[in-house]
């Protein structure tokens, strides 16, 4: 029942599949996937609302194809995509019990995420100043709600992973903290999945007249 009954891999010094070596770990792992199943319908509702209200009520000059800045969105996309890769690399380091590498990759992930978020804040600020605001039209409300919900998820992910890192800074990989790292990485990938649809549906389709 305790954490000690799981045999270590003699080479790595931690159990194989350390993220689900205990029942607690397995529970977390499965539960988090189910949570992501729920998040899927959450974002579907937001996407549906956005698609339904796309450009609706927006004044001339404030339609999606008038305002979106492709360059910035492209850079943000690259940052987030790369952060998804670094998050995978961190998890692979975790599985071979390489704490230093894991921390390094996670910090890079955080920095990339921070870069993405800064881009988003800059972008929102820019739109605000040209008159595309949360209250300017139904389109504005739907846009900020969808993209903002995603941004909120990014922010939460940053806080979550930072807390994990700080709390476990001087600790090795254990069957207790590995599931926590692992599900936070799943979360981070899911954020990227959502962003893929945001840049495709909101930005790219929004550019097509």
């Amino acid at each position: 029942m305790g954490h000690h009954s799981v045999p270590n891999n003699p080479i790595t010094g931690i159990p194989d599949h350390v993220e689900k070596a205990t029942l607690e770990g397995k529970n977390k792992y499965v539960a988090f996937w189910f949570f992501l199943g729920g998040e899927t319908t959450l974002f579907a509702s937001l996407f549906g609302t956005y698609i339904g209200l796309h450009n609706s009520g927006a004044k001339e000059g404030l339609r999606s194809y008038d305002i979106f800045e492709m360059g910035l969105v492209f850079i943000m996309t690259m940052l987030l995509l790369t952060s998804s890769l670094t998050s995978v690399l961190a998890m692979m380091a975790m599985k071979r019990n390489d704490v230093k590498k894991m921390k390094l990759w996670l910090i890079i992930t955080l920095l990339l995420g921070l870069g993405f978020l800064s881009g988003e804040i800059y972008e929102f600020n820019h739109y605000y100043h040209i008159g595309h605001t949360f209250t300017s039209s139904a389109f504005g409300s739907a846009f900020y709600t969808l993209v903002g919900f995603h941004g909120g998820h990014v922010l939460f992910g940053l806080l979550w992973i930072s807390t994990l890192l700080i709390r476990n800074w001087n600790r090795g990989i254990t069957v207790v903290n590995a599931p926590k790292y692992y599900v936070s990485s799943l979360y981070w990938h899911f954020i990227d999945v959502v962003w893929v649809f945001i840049f495709s549906v909101v930005y790219l389709m929004g550019m097509v007249k």
């Binding site: 729920g38 319908t41 339904g52």
Partner: protein
Amino acid sequence: MGTHTMGMPQKKSGIMDWLTTVDHKKIGILYIISGLFFLLVGGVEALMIRFQLIKPMNDFVSGELFNQLITMHGTTMIFLAAMPMLIGYMNAAVPLQIGARDVAFPFLNALGFWLFFFGGVLLNLSWFFGAAPNAGWTAYAPLSTVPESLGVDFYSLGLQISGFGTLMGGINFLVTILNMRAPGMKLMRMPLFTWTAFVASALIVFAFPPLTVGLFLLTFERLFGAHFFDPAAGGNIVIWEHLFWIFGHPEVYILILPAFGIFSEIIPTFARKRLFGYTTMVFATMLIGFLGFMVWVHHMFTVGLGPVANAIFAVATMAIAVPTGVKIFNWLFTLWGGKLTFPVAMLYSVAFIPSFLVGGMTGVMLSVAPADYQYHDSYFVVAHFHYVIVGGVVFGLFAGLYYWFPLMFGKQLNEFWGKIQFWLFFIGFHLTFFPQHILGLTGMPRRVFTYLPNQGWETMNLLSSIGAAFMGVSTIVLVISIVAALMSKEYVKRDVWGDGRTLEWTLPVPTPEYNFAQIPLVKGLDTYWLEKMAGNKTVSVSEEVGDIHMPNNSILPFVMSVGLFLAGLGFILRLDYGTVGLVIALVGLAMTFIAMFFRSWIDDEGYYIPKSVVEEDLRLEAEKEAK
């Protein structure tokens, strides 16, 4: 087992224990008690509605108050009475039925309860501000976006908070049922209540997020000036209707499936027969759950979405009648040839079958889209869904209460008064709602606070109100019965019904906090019954007696929920009281986040109940059995 502190559990008594408990049995009790409380609140609202409608041109309540009453009656009954009580039974029974010591996430379980509770309190607090929600339980825009009616803010934030709790409960039960089963408890050996809890939990996971989004949109619209539902700025009110019903229809199945599960436990027990067609019951449950996501537009037939959409959703709706019919027949065949006894739990189960059937039939009538244009927004619809929800869900809640009360409290509800309660409720129910079919067919619209004389509606409304009084008296009897049972010193013995089939009845009364001293070994469907038939007194076990790991109690779920409650209240008050509201909101949010931070910062490894204590418990129990 390595080195662990053999910490004895903290002394567990008093209010602090209830505020900090992570024990699924206690959380189950908290859910049931709070659910019953809200059932009474919603019941009083219902009685006031019926008293207003007892005669034409009555002026017992004003139109505004009437709107608040119908809104709060519906919202309270669905979100704060029926669903929590069902989740309460899941807590009380599911871990025991699958042979587990606890749910997968005890902390989350407690958090789920407190979020529901404080969401409900926030919603009902609106009465004290003289501004209960008044836009109907469906809160259709633009009626719900009128900023003057402060009440809808209580609706959107209260439901949001309690909805988070429900989502957590759903995920928790899914994982519990998948990962925590005792050895030998294969999926197709699980008791049907566990199966229905599983499917209902999956529905919660997919159906609540759309409600979350809908409520956020409504909140943003009301508090922050967004325009989702404001046609003047390009908004579209149909979006709210879709989001609400994408959640709302599966919600009906979230309620009815566990009720089906309860009946599927009770009927075999008191027919002393294996449930007929267990496998088809399981698949019918899944099919109902799946189809439940594909029918929501039947609530919107008259919106004008076009004949194609209406036709598709009409056919899907009719299709649901098939698996439901399969279930009805399975219950009947279980009864057929059984050695029947009729304690109150069984009375409710048997009464459920024809009552629910009527609701199902009118459901098929309503699914015919062209005909629905006639029924829509009339009392016929009110009659239909009360036949389904009361005749199905509430009968299930009462049946489950009588059936599992001994398991939860170690005491039994009085059967004599229970039968009186049943007959009052059964007669009252049909007397209240059957005439409403006729009212609907003769044209009385729903949600009107009064009506003119000489339209042929007087008699039926009078009958309906008399029926409501019957149900009111019945509920009073129930409350007295519960209080009397709780005060009595008469404890029941293990396997109180004598014919228990599933694992929860193998446990000593009261159930020890670790549930099973030794995790059982399951040999088939209805494993306890199988062992009894083989001449055994109890079920086989799968492990030696040993130390038992337990989770620590925690006050953090309570603090987090109070925090969100304050945040919600603050945001609502911000409109009228400005800074004060904002301060309350920020304090609340800070509370929640600090509690979350503590939760992730403090290592909580739980404690162990030493082997010696478990052995002592086993010895005492054996002595008690011998007497």
